[in-house]
Protein backbone atom coordinates (compact mmCIF):
# COMPACT_ATOMS: atom_id res chain seq x y z
CA UNK A 1 0.00 0.00 0.00
CA UNK A 2 2.79 2.42 0.92
CA UNK A 3 4.36 1.66 -2.44
CA UNK A 4 1.34 3.10 -4.12
CA UNK A 5 2.07 6.47 -2.55
CA UNK A 6 4.60 6.80 -5.34
CA UNK A 7 1.68 7.23 -7.71
CA UNK A 8 0.49 10.09 -5.53
CA UNK A 9 1.07 12.59 -8.30
CA UNK A 10 -1.97 12.01 -10.50
CA UNK A 11 -2.06 15.72 -11.24
CA UNK A 12 1.15 15.49 -13.21
CA UNK A 13 0.01 12.37 -14.94
CA UNK A 14 -3.15 14.02 -16.15
CA UNK A 15 -1.74 17.36 -17.14
CA UNK A 16 0.61 15.36 -19.33
CA UNK A 17 -2.37 14.10 -21.34
CA UNK A 18 -3.60 17.57 -22.10
CA UNK A 19 -6.33 19.84 -20.82
CA UNK A 20 -9.30 17.78 -22.04
CA UNK A 21 -12.38 18.10 -19.93
CA UNK A 22 -13.31 14.74 -18.50
CA UNK A 23 -16.01 13.44 -16.22
CA UNK A 24 -15.74 10.17 -14.37
CA UNK A 25 -18.51 8.39 -12.53
CA UNK A 26 -17.55 6.72 -9.29
CA UNK A 27 -19.89 4.15 -7.77
CA UNK A 28 -19.18 4.01 -4.04
CA UNK A 29 -20.61 2.10 -1.08
CA UNK A 30 -23.13 4.10 0.96
CA UNK A 31 -20.80 4.06 3.98
CA UNK A 32 -18.18 5.99 1.97
CA UNK A 33 -20.56 8.92 1.42
CA UNK A 34 -18.81 11.82 3.17
CA UNK A 35 -15.27 10.62 2.50
CA UNK A 36 -15.78 10.09 -1.24
CA UNK A 37 -17.49 13.44 -1.68
CA UNK A 38 -14.37 15.04 -0.25
CA UNK A 39 -12.04 12.76 -2.22
CA UNK A 40 -13.88 13.68 -5.41
CA UNK A 41 -13.61 17.40 -4.67
CA UNK A 42 -9.91 17.12 -3.77
CA UNK A 43 -9.23 15.18 -6.97
CA UNK A 44 -11.02 17.86 -9.01
CA UNK A 45 -8.90 20.54 -7.29
CA UNK A 46 -5.65 18.86 -8.26
CA UNK A 47 -6.86 18.05 -11.79
CA UNK A 48 -8.43 21.11 -13.40
CA UNK A 49 -10.94 20.21 -16.09
CA UNK A 50 -11.76 16.89 -14.51
CA UNK A 51 -15.04 16.38 -12.75
CA UNK A 52 -15.93 13.47 -10.51
CA UNK A 53 -19.51 12.34 -10.06
CA UNK A 54 -20.01 9.97 -7.17
CA UNK A 55 -23.09 7.83 -6.86
CA UNK A 56 -23.69 6.14 -3.50
CA UNK A 57 -25.76 3.04 -2.78
CA UNK A 58 -25.44 -0.35 -1.13
CA UNK A 59 -22.44 -2.18 -2.63
CA UNK A 60 -24.71 -5.00 -3.73
CA UNK A 61 -26.96 -2.56 -5.59
CA UNK A 62 -23.91 -0.99 -7.27
CA UNK A 63 -22.61 -4.42 -8.23
CA UNK A 64 -25.92 -5.14 -9.97
CA UNK A 65 -25.76 -1.81 -11.80
CA UNK A 66 -22.23 -2.56 -13.01
CA UNK A 67 -23.11 -6.10 -14.10
CA UNK A 68 -26.13 -4.70 -15.93
CA UNK A 69 -23.77 -2.43 -17.87
CA UNK A 70 -24.27 0.91 -16.12
CA UNK A 71 -21.77 3.42 -17.54
CA UNK A 72 -19.28 4.02 -14.73
CA UNK A 73 -15.53 4.33 -14.28
CA UNK A 74 -14.65 3.34 -10.72
CA UNK A 75 -16.21 0.98 -8.16
CA UNK A 76 -15.51 1.21 -4.44
CA UNK A 77 -17.19 -1.64 -2.56
CA UNK A 78 -17.75 -2.06 1.17
CA UNK A 79 -16.72 -5.70 0.98
CA UNK A 80 -14.50 -7.94 -1.14
CA UNK A 81 -17.37 -10.26 -2.13
CA UNK A 82 -19.23 -7.70 -4.25
CA UNK A 83 -15.95 -6.60 -5.84
CA UNK A 84 -15.01 -10.24 -6.51
CA UNK A 85 -18.24 -10.79 -8.40
CA UNK A 86 -17.54 -7.74 -10.54
CA UNK A 87 -13.99 -8.96 -11.20
CA UNK A 88 -15.20 -12.48 -12.03
CA UNK A 89 -17.61 -11.01 -14.57
CA UNK A 90 -14.64 -9.29 -16.19
CA UNK A 91 -15.96 -5.82 -15.41
CA UNK A 92 -12.90 -4.87 -13.34
CA UNK A 93 -9.46 -6.20 -12.56
CA UNK A 94 -6.77 -5.94 -9.89
CA UNK A 95 -8.74 -4.30 -7.08
CA UNK A 96 -6.76 -2.69 -4.25
CA UNK A 97 -7.87 -2.26 -0.66
CA UNK A 98 -8.55 1.38 0.11
CA UNK A 99 -9.70 1.32 3.71
CA UNK A 100 -10.87 -0.69 6.68
CA UNK A 101 -13.84 -0.10 8.88
CA UNK A 102 -15.29 -1.59 12.05
CA UNK A 103 -18.80 -2.07 13.27
CA UNK A 104 -20.34 -0.08 16.07
CA UNK A 105 -23.78 0.08 17.65
CA UNK A 106 -25.51 3.36 16.83
CA UNK A 107 -28.11 4.70 19.26
CA UNK A 108 -29.95 8.05 19.23
CA UNK A 109 -28.21 10.78 21.28
CA UNK A 110 -28.62 10.06 24.99
CA UNK A 111 -29.39 6.37 24.34
CA UNK A 112 -33.08 6.57 25.35
CA UNK A 113 -33.57 2.79 25.41
CA UNK A 114 -30.47 2.21 27.54
CA UNK A 115 -28.76 -0.13 25.06
CA UNK A 116 -25.54 -1.50 26.58
CA UNK A 117 -24.34 -3.95 23.97
CA UNK A 118 -25.21 -6.59 21.40
CA UNK A 119 -27.03 -8.66 24.05
CA UNK A 120 -29.81 -6.03 24.13
CA UNK A 121 -30.55 -6.81 20.47
CA UNK A 122 -32.32 -9.98 21.63
CA UNK A 123 -34.79 -7.90 23.65
CA UNK A 124 -38.15 -7.46 21.89
CA UNK A 125 -38.89 -4.06 23.49
CA UNK A 126 -36.41 -1.66 21.91
CA UNK A 127 -36.83 -0.94 18.18
CA UNK A 128 -33.88 -2.61 16.50
CA UNK A 129 -32.75 -2.15 12.91
CA UNK A 130 -30.10 -3.88 10.86
CA UNK A 131 -29.02 -3.54 7.25
CA UNK A 132 -30.69 -6.07 4.94
CA UNK A 133 -28.90 -9.40 4.66
CA UNK A 134 -27.68 -8.87 1.13
CA UNK A 135 -25.91 -5.63 2.07
CA UNK A 136 -22.34 -5.77 3.51
CA UNK A 137 -23.24 -4.04 6.77
CA UNK A 138 -26.14 -6.47 7.14
CA UNK A 139 -23.96 -9.51 6.61
CA UNK A 140 -21.22 -8.24 8.92
CA UNK A 141 -23.72 -7.12 11.57
CA UNK A 142 -25.24 -10.61 11.62
CA UNK A 143 -21.75 -12.10 11.89
CA UNK A 144 -21.03 -9.93 14.91
CA UNK A 145 -24.35 -10.92 16.52
CA UNK A 146 -23.57 -14.59 15.84
CA UNK A 147 -20.13 -14.12 17.39
CA UNK A 148 -21.82 -12.72 20.48
CA UNK A 149 -24.33 -15.59 20.47
CA UNK A 150 -27.28 -13.20 20.12
CA UNK A 151 -30.46 -13.89 18.14
CA UNK A 152 -31.74 -10.40 17.38
CA UNK A 153 -35.35 -9.29 17.57
CA UNK A 154 -35.34 -7.19 14.39
CA UNK A 155 -37.92 -4.52 13.56
CA UNK A 156 -36.58 -3.51 10.16
CA UNK A 157 -33.95 -4.53 7.60
CA UNK A 158 -32.92 -1.30 5.90
CA UNK A 159 -31.81 -1.29 2.28
CA UNK A 160 -28.47 0.38 3.06
CA UNK A 161 -26.42 1.62 5.98
CA UNK A 162 -27.30 5.30 5.51
CA UNK A 163 -31.02 4.52 5.59
CA UNK A 164 -30.46 2.66 8.87
CA UNK A 165 -28.38 5.49 10.31
CA UNK A 166 -31.02 8.05 9.33
CA UNK A 167 -33.69 6.15 11.28
CA UNK A 168 -31.47 5.92 14.37
CA UNK A 169 -30.58 9.59 14.00
CA UNK A 170 -34.28 10.50 13.85
CA UNK A 171 -34.88 8.51 17.03
CA UNK A 172 -37.26 6.16 15.20
CA UNK A 173 -35.03 3.21 16.03
CA UNK A 174 -33.37 2.55 19.40
CA UNK A 175 -30.32 0.83 18.01
CA UNK A 176 -28.70 -0.41 14.81
CA UNK A 177 -25.39 -1.92 13.79
CA UNK A 178 -23.51 0.42 11.48
CA UNK A 179 -19.88 1.30 10.82
CA UNK A 180 -17.72 3.33 13.20
CA UNK A 181 -17.43 5.90 10.41
CA UNK A 182 -21.21 6.31 10.21
CA UNK A 183 -21.48 7.10 13.90
CA UNK A 184 -18.70 9.66 13.48
CA UNK A 185 -20.42 11.25 10.47
CA UNK A 186 -23.70 11.65 12.35
CA UNK A 187 -22.04 13.94 14.91
CA UNK A 188 -24.01 14.68 18.06
CA UNK A 189 -27.26 13.13 16.84
CA UNK A 190 -25.99 9.59 17.35
CA UNK A 191 -23.98 7.92 20.12
CA UNK A 192 -21.74 4.95 19.39
CA UNK A 193 -21.41 1.90 21.61
CA UNK A 194 -18.31 -0.18 20.97
CA UNK A 195 -18.61 -3.83 20.06
CA UNK A 196 -15.92 -5.86 21.88
CA UNK A 197 -13.02 -6.84 19.62
CA UNK A 198 -13.77 -10.58 19.95
CA UNK A 199 -17.25 -10.09 18.44
CA UNK A 200 -16.44 -7.28 16.03
CA UNK A 201 -15.94 -7.85 12.33
CA UNK A 202 -13.74 -5.65 10.17
CA UNK A 203 -14.92 -4.50 6.77
CA UNK A 204 -12.37 -4.18 3.98
CA UNK A 205 -13.11 -1.77 1.14
CA UNK A 206 -11.66 -2.65 -2.29
CA UNK A 207 -11.53 -0.18 -5.18
CA UNK A 208 -10.92 -0.74 -8.89
CA UNK A 209 -11.25 1.08 -12.19
CA UNK A 210 -13.91 -0.56 -14.37
CA UNK A 211 -13.01 -2.27 -17.65
CA UNK A 212 -15.74 -0.44 -19.57
CA UNK A 213 -14.54 2.97 -18.42
CA UNK A 214 -14.45 5.44 -21.27
CA UNK A 215 -11.96 7.52 -19.31
CA UNK A 216 -9.61 4.83 -18.15
CA UNK A 217 -6.65 7.15 -17.51
CA UNK A 218 -8.66 9.45 -15.28
CA UNK A 219 -10.26 6.46 -13.57
CA UNK A 220 -6.85 4.94 -12.82
CA UNK A 221 -5.61 8.31 -11.60
CA UNK A 222 -8.59 8.62 -9.25
CA UNK A 223 -7.95 5.14 -7.82
CA UNK A 224 -4.29 6.05 -7.31
CA UNK A 225 -5.35 9.29 -5.65
CA UNK A 226 -7.61 7.45 -3.19
CA UNK A 227 -4.72 5.14 -2.30
CA UNK A 228 -2.19 8.00 -2.06
CA UNK A 229 -1.14 9.60 1.23
CA UNK A 230 -3.45 12.54 0.60
CA UNK A 231 -6.38 10.23 -0.11
CA UNK A 232 -5.66 8.11 2.94
CA UNK A 233 -5.51 11.24 5.11
CA UNK A 234 -8.98 12.23 3.94
CA UNK A 235 -10.29 8.72 4.63
CA UNK A 236 -8.67 8.72 8.09
CA UNK A 237 -10.42 12.00 8.92
CA UNK A 238 -13.72 10.15 8.41
CA UNK A 239 -12.65 7.37 10.78
CA UNK A 240 -11.50 4.79 8.22
CA UNK A 241 -8.49 2.65 9.05
CA UNK A 242 -5.59 1.99 6.70
CA UNK A 243 -5.83 -1.54 5.29
Amino acid sequence: MRLLAVVGAPALLLSACGEDDATITVLAAASLTGAFEELGAAFEDTNPGVSVEVSFAASSALREQILAGAPADVFASADPSNMDQVVEAGAASAPADLAENELQIAVPAGNPAGIAGLADFADADPLIGLCAEGVPCGRLGREALANAGVTPSIDTNEPDVRALLTKVEAGELDAGIVYVTDVLSAGDAVDGIDIPAEDNVAATYPIAALSDSTNREVADAFVAFVLSDQGQEILASYGFGTP
Binding site: S60, R63, E64, G129, G134, I154, T156, N157, A170, E172
Partner: protein, 272 residues
Amino acid sequence: MSQRPTGPRRAPQGRTPWPVIPLAAVAVAYVAFPLAALLQRVPWSDLGSLLSRPLVTDALRLSVTTACAATGLSLLVGVPLAWVLARTHLPGRSLVRALVILPMVLPPVVGGAALLFAFGRRGLLGGPVYDSTGFLLPFSVWGVIAANTFVAMPFLVLTVESGLRAADARYEDAAATLGASRWMIFRRVTVPNAAPAIIAGAVLCWARALGEFGATVTFAGNLQGRTQTMPLAVFLTLESDREAALALSLMLIVVSLAVLVPMRDRWLASVP
Protein backbone atom coordinates in the same frame (compact mmCIF):
# COMPACT_ATOMS: atom_id res chain seq x y z
CA MET B 1 -76.83 11.66 -16.43
CA SER B 2 -75.25 13.37 -19.37
CA GLN B 3 -75.64 11.76 -22.78
CA ARG B 4 -72.45 9.97 -23.60
CA PRO B 5 -71.68 7.19 -26.02
CA THR B 6 -70.81 4.05 -24.11
CA GLY B 7 -68.58 2.58 -26.82
CA PRO B 8 -65.27 3.99 -28.02
CA ARG B 9 -65.66 7.40 -29.56
CA ARG B 10 -65.19 7.47 -33.28
CA ALA B 11 -62.64 9.55 -35.07
CA PRO B 12 -64.22 12.21 -37.32
CA GLN B 13 -65.56 10.67 -40.54
CA GLY B 14 -64.29 7.31 -39.33
CA ARG B 15 -60.77 8.07 -40.48
CA THR B 16 -57.62 8.22 -38.42
CA PRO B 17 -55.07 10.95 -39.17
CA TRP B 18 -52.06 9.07 -40.55
CA PRO B 19 -49.32 9.84 -37.96
CA VAL B 20 -51.53 8.84 -35.05
CA ILE B 21 -51.39 5.08 -35.40
CA PRO B 22 -47.59 4.72 -35.71
CA LEU B 23 -46.98 7.19 -32.87
CA ALA B 24 -49.49 5.37 -30.68
CA ALA B 25 -47.73 2.12 -31.55
CA VAL B 26 -44.44 3.64 -30.39
CA ALA B 27 -46.07 4.59 -27.09
CA VAL B 28 -47.35 1.05 -26.56
CA ALA B 29 -44.05 -0.52 -27.58
CA TYR B 30 -42.15 1.77 -25.22
CA VAL B 31 -44.06 0.34 -22.28
CA ALA B 32 -44.46 -3.20 -23.54
CA PHE B 33 -40.88 -3.82 -24.65
CA PRO B 34 -39.14 -3.43 -21.25
CA LEU B 35 -41.86 -5.54 -19.63
CA ALA B 36 -41.34 -8.22 -22.27
CA ALA B 37 -37.59 -8.05 -21.60
CA LEU B 38 -38.33 -8.64 -17.92
CA LEU B 39 -40.64 -11.56 -18.69
CA GLN B 40 -37.99 -13.15 -20.86
CA ARG B 41 -35.73 -13.36 -17.77
CA VAL B 42 -38.38 -14.96 -15.56
CA PRO B 43 -37.32 -18.47 -14.54
CA TRP B 44 -40.52 -20.11 -15.81
CA SER B 45 -39.57 -23.67 -14.92
CA ASP B 46 -38.91 -22.90 -11.24
CA LEU B 47 -41.83 -20.53 -10.97
CA GLY B 48 -43.96 -22.83 -8.84
CA SER B 49 -41.36 -23.39 -6.17
CA LEU B 50 -40.25 -19.74 -6.22
CA LEU B 51 -43.79 -18.46 -5.77
CA SER B 52 -44.51 -20.80 -2.89
CA ARG B 53 -41.57 -19.57 -0.82
CA PRO B 54 -42.52 -17.76 2.41
CA LEU B 55 -40.70 -14.62 1.25
CA VAL B 56 -43.04 -14.43 -1.74
CA THR B 57 -46.29 -15.54 -0.08
CA ASP B 58 -45.75 -13.24 2.92
CA ALA B 59 -45.10 -10.28 0.63
CA LEU B 60 -48.10 -11.07 -1.59
CA ARG B 61 -50.48 -11.42 1.35
CA LEU B 62 -49.21 -8.20 2.95
CA SER B 63 -49.34 -6.25 -0.31
CA VAL B 64 -52.89 -7.28 -1.14
CA THR B 65 -54.28 -6.65 2.37
CA THR B 66 -52.57 -3.28 2.80
CA ALA B 67 -53.60 -2.14 -0.69
CA CYS B 68 -57.21 -3.06 0.13
CA ALA B 69 -57.05 -1.25 3.47
CA ALA B 70 -55.52 1.84 1.86
CA THR B 71 -58.23 1.84 -0.81
CA GLY B 72 -60.90 1.56 1.89
CA LEU B 73 -59.46 4.52 3.79
CA SER B 74 -59.12 6.51 0.57
CA LEU B 75 -62.78 5.84 -0.32
CA LEU B 76 -63.92 6.86 3.15
CA VAL B 77 -62.31 10.31 3.09
CA GLY B 78 -61.42 10.71 -0.58
CA VAL B 79 -64.97 10.57 -2.01
CA PRO B 80 -66.18 13.34 0.34
CA LEU B 81 -63.09 15.36 -0.54
CA ALA B 82 -63.76 14.90 -4.25
CA TRP B 83 -67.33 16.10 -3.66
CA VAL B 84 -66.08 19.22 -1.90
CA LEU B 85 -63.69 19.94 -4.77
CA ALA B 86 -66.33 19.33 -7.46
CA ARG B 87 -69.47 20.80 -5.94
CA THR B 88 -68.52 23.68 -3.67
CA HIS B 89 -66.96 27.04 -4.32
CA LEU B 90 -64.82 27.22 -1.22
CA PRO B 91 -62.03 29.74 -1.52
CA GLY B 92 -58.63 28.09 -1.87
CA ARG B 93 -60.08 25.06 -3.65
CA SER B 94 -57.24 25.03 -6.20
CA LEU B 95 -54.74 25.11 -3.38
CA VAL B 96 -56.44 22.20 -1.62
CA ARG B 97 -56.54 20.22 -4.85
CA ALA B 98 -52.85 20.88 -5.54
CA LEU B 99 -52.00 19.87 -1.99
CA VAL B 100 -53.93 16.62 -2.21
CA ILE B 101 -52.42 15.74 -5.59
CA LEU B 102 -48.90 16.53 -4.39
CA PRO B 103 -48.12 12.95 -3.25
CA MET B 104 -48.69 11.86 -6.88
CA VAL B 105 -45.79 13.92 -8.12
CA LEU B 106 -43.49 13.99 -5.10
CA PRO B 107 -40.77 11.37 -4.81
CA PRO B 108 -42.42 8.85 -2.47
CA VAL B 109 -39.31 8.92 -0.28
CA VAL B 110 -40.14 12.53 0.53
CA GLY B 111 -43.64 11.43 1.48
CA GLY B 112 -42.19 8.74 3.72
CA ALA B 113 -39.92 11.23 5.47
CA ALA B 114 -42.83 13.64 5.90
CA LEU B 115 -44.91 10.83 7.41
CA LEU B 116 -42.06 10.07 9.83
CA PHE B 117 -41.88 13.69 10.95
CA ALA B 118 -45.64 13.70 11.50
CA PHE B 119 -46.44 10.21 12.78
CA GLY B 120 -43.06 8.76 13.76
CA ARG B 121 -42.04 8.09 17.33
CA ARG B 122 -40.58 11.59 17.54
CA GLY B 123 -43.15 13.04 15.17
CA LEU B 124 -45.44 16.02 15.76
CA LEU B 125 -48.47 13.82 16.36
CA GLY B 126 -46.82 10.40 16.60
CA GLY B 127 -44.65 11.51 19.53
CA PRO B 128 -47.45 12.40 21.97
CA VAL B 129 -49.49 9.38 20.88
CA TYR B 130 -46.55 7.04 21.47
CA ASP B 131 -45.76 8.58 24.85
CA SER B 132 -49.32 8.20 26.11
CA THR B 133 -50.39 4.91 24.50
CA GLY B 134 -47.27 3.19 23.21
CA PHE B 135 -48.88 2.93 19.76
CA LEU B 136 -46.48 3.27 16.90
CA LEU B 137 -47.18 3.43 13.15
CA PRO B 138 -43.63 2.88 11.81
CA PHE B 139 -42.36 -0.70 11.63
CA SER B 140 -45.92 -2.04 11.73
CA VAL B 141 -48.52 -3.05 9.15
CA TRP B 142 -50.41 0.16 10.04
CA GLY B 143 -47.40 2.11 8.85
CA VAL B 144 -47.55 0.33 5.50
CA ILE B 145 -51.26 1.18 5.18
CA ALA B 146 -50.55 4.80 6.13
CA ALA B 147 -47.80 5.10 3.51
CA ASN B 148 -49.96 3.41 0.85
CA THR B 149 -52.90 5.71 1.57
CA PHE B 150 -50.73 8.84 1.45
CA VAL B 151 -49.39 7.98 -1.98
CA ALA B 152 -52.45 6.33 -3.58
CA MET B 153 -55.37 8.48 -2.39
CA PRO B 154 -54.80 11.29 -4.96
CA PHE B 155 -55.57 8.83 -7.79
CA LEU B 156 -59.00 8.25 -6.28
CA VAL B 157 -59.73 11.90 -5.47
CA LEU B 158 -58.83 13.14 -8.96
CA THR B 159 -60.83 10.44 -10.73
CA VAL B 160 -63.92 10.88 -8.57
CA GLU B 161 -63.78 14.66 -8.82
CA SER B 162 -63.80 14.50 -12.62
CA GLY B 163 -66.62 11.97 -12.48
CA LEU B 164 -68.69 14.27 -10.27
CA ARG B 165 -68.03 17.23 -12.53
CA ALA B 166 -69.17 15.27 -15.57
CA ALA B 167 -72.30 13.98 -13.82
CA ASP B 168 -75.44 16.05 -14.23
CA ALA B 169 -76.00 18.07 -11.06
CA ARG B 170 -79.66 18.62 -11.97
CA TYR B 171 -80.52 15.17 -10.59
CA GLU B 172 -79.32 16.42 -7.22
CA ASP B 173 -81.38 19.62 -7.64
CA ALA B 174 -84.42 17.53 -8.48
CA ALA B 175 -83.92 15.34 -5.42
CA ALA B 176 -83.62 18.48 -3.30
CA THR B 177 -86.89 19.91 -4.63
CA LEU B 178 -88.53 16.59 -3.75
CA GLY B 179 -87.48 17.14 -0.15
CA ALA B 180 -84.52 14.78 0.18
CA SER B 181 -82.01 15.72 2.87
CA ARG B 182 -78.51 16.69 1.75
CA TRP B 183 -77.01 13.50 3.18
CA MET B 184 -79.66 11.43 1.45
CA ILE B 185 -78.95 13.16 -1.87
CA PHE B 186 -75.24 12.47 -1.44
CA ARG B 187 -75.86 8.79 -0.67
CA ARG B 188 -78.75 8.03 -3.04
CA VAL B 189 -78.07 10.33 -6.00
CA THR B 190 -74.55 11.70 -6.06
CA VAL B 191 -72.64 8.54 -5.20
CA PRO B 192 -74.62 6.19 -7.51
CA ASN B 193 -74.28 8.66 -10.38
CA ALA B 194 -70.54 8.83 -9.82
CA ALA B 195 -70.22 5.07 -9.30
CA PRO B 196 -68.23 4.38 -12.48
CA ALA B 197 -65.72 7.07 -11.54
CA ILE B 198 -65.57 5.81 -7.97
CA ILE B 199 -64.86 2.27 -9.17
CA ALA B 200 -62.22 3.50 -11.61
CA GLY B 201 -60.66 5.67 -8.89
CA ALA B 202 -60.64 2.80 -6.42
CA VAL B 203 -58.99 0.48 -8.94
CA LEU B 204 -56.28 3.02 -9.79
CA CYS B 205 -55.76 3.73 -6.09
CA TRP B 206 -55.49 0.01 -5.30
CA ALA B 207 -53.02 -0.63 -8.10
CA ARG B 208 -50.88 2.33 -7.07
CA ALA B 209 -50.91 1.17 -3.44
CA LEU B 210 -49.87 -2.31 -4.56
CA GLY B 211 -46.77 -0.87 -6.24
CA GLU B 212 -45.84 1.53 -3.44
CA PHE B 213 -42.18 1.39 -2.49
CA GLY B 214 -40.43 4.61 -1.45
CA ALA B 215 -42.78 5.91 1.22
CA THR B 216 -43.21 2.43 2.65
CA VAL B 217 -39.53 1.64 3.06
CA THR B 218 -38.85 5.10 4.49
CA PHE B 219 -41.77 5.22 6.89
CA ALA B 220 -42.63 1.62 7.72
CA GLY B 221 -39.27 -0.10 7.31
CA ASN B 222 -38.74 -3.55 5.90
CA LEU B 223 -39.41 -6.79 7.74
CA GLN B 224 -40.63 -9.99 6.12
CA GLY B 225 -44.18 -10.81 7.19
CA ARG B 226 -44.74 -7.45 8.86
CA THR B 227 -43.82 -4.59 6.54
CA GLN B 228 -42.11 -6.20 3.54
CA THR B 229 -44.53 -5.70 0.66
CA MET B 230 -43.91 -7.08 -2.83
CA PRO B 231 -42.07 -4.01 -4.15
CA LEU B 232 -39.74 -4.05 -1.11
CA ALA B 233 -39.13 -7.76 -1.52
CA VAL B 234 -38.33 -7.23 -5.22
CA PHE B 235 -35.90 -4.42 -4.45
CA LEU B 236 -34.05 -6.34 -1.75
CA THR B 237 -33.94 -9.70 -3.50
CA LEU B 238 -32.93 -8.25 -6.87
CA GLU B 239 -29.38 -8.12 -5.51
CA SER B 240 -29.25 -11.36 -3.55
CA ASP B 241 -31.80 -13.67 -5.19
CA ARG B 242 -32.66 -12.49 -8.67
CA GLU B 243 -34.89 -15.44 -9.57
CA ALA B 244 -37.17 -14.75 -6.62
CA ALA B 245 -37.18 -11.05 -7.51
CA LEU B 246 -38.23 -11.84 -11.08
CA ALA B 247 -40.96 -14.20 -9.89
CA LEU B 248 -42.25 -11.44 -7.60
CA SER B 249 -42.13 -8.91 -10.43
CA LEU B 250 -44.14 -11.22 -12.62
CA MET B 251 -46.67 -11.62 -9.83
CA LEU B 252 -46.96 -7.81 -9.47
CA ILE B 253 -47.50 -7.39 -13.20
CA VAL B 254 -50.11 -10.15 -13.37
CA VAL B 255 -52.04 -8.89 -10.33
CA SER B 256 -51.95 -5.27 -11.56
CA LEU B 257 -53.09 -6.25 -15.05
CA ALA B 258 -55.84 -8.40 -13.57
CA VAL B 259 -57.41 -5.35 -11.94
CA LEU B 260 -56.59 -2.83 -14.68
CA VAL B 261 -57.70 -4.78 -17.76
CA PRO B 262 -61.39 -5.10 -16.72
CA MET B 263 -61.59 -1.30 -16.31
CA ARG B 264 -64.28 -0.26 -18.75
CA ASP B 265 -63.81 2.59 -21.16
CA ARG B 266 -66.93 4.22 -19.81
CA TRP B 267 -65.54 4.28 -16.26
CA LEU B 268 -62.79 6.47 -17.55
CA ALA B 269 -65.02 8.43 -19.95
CA SER B 270 -65.37 11.17 -17.40
CA VAL B 271 -61.70 11.32 -16.60
CA PRO B 272 -59.95 14.17 -18.38
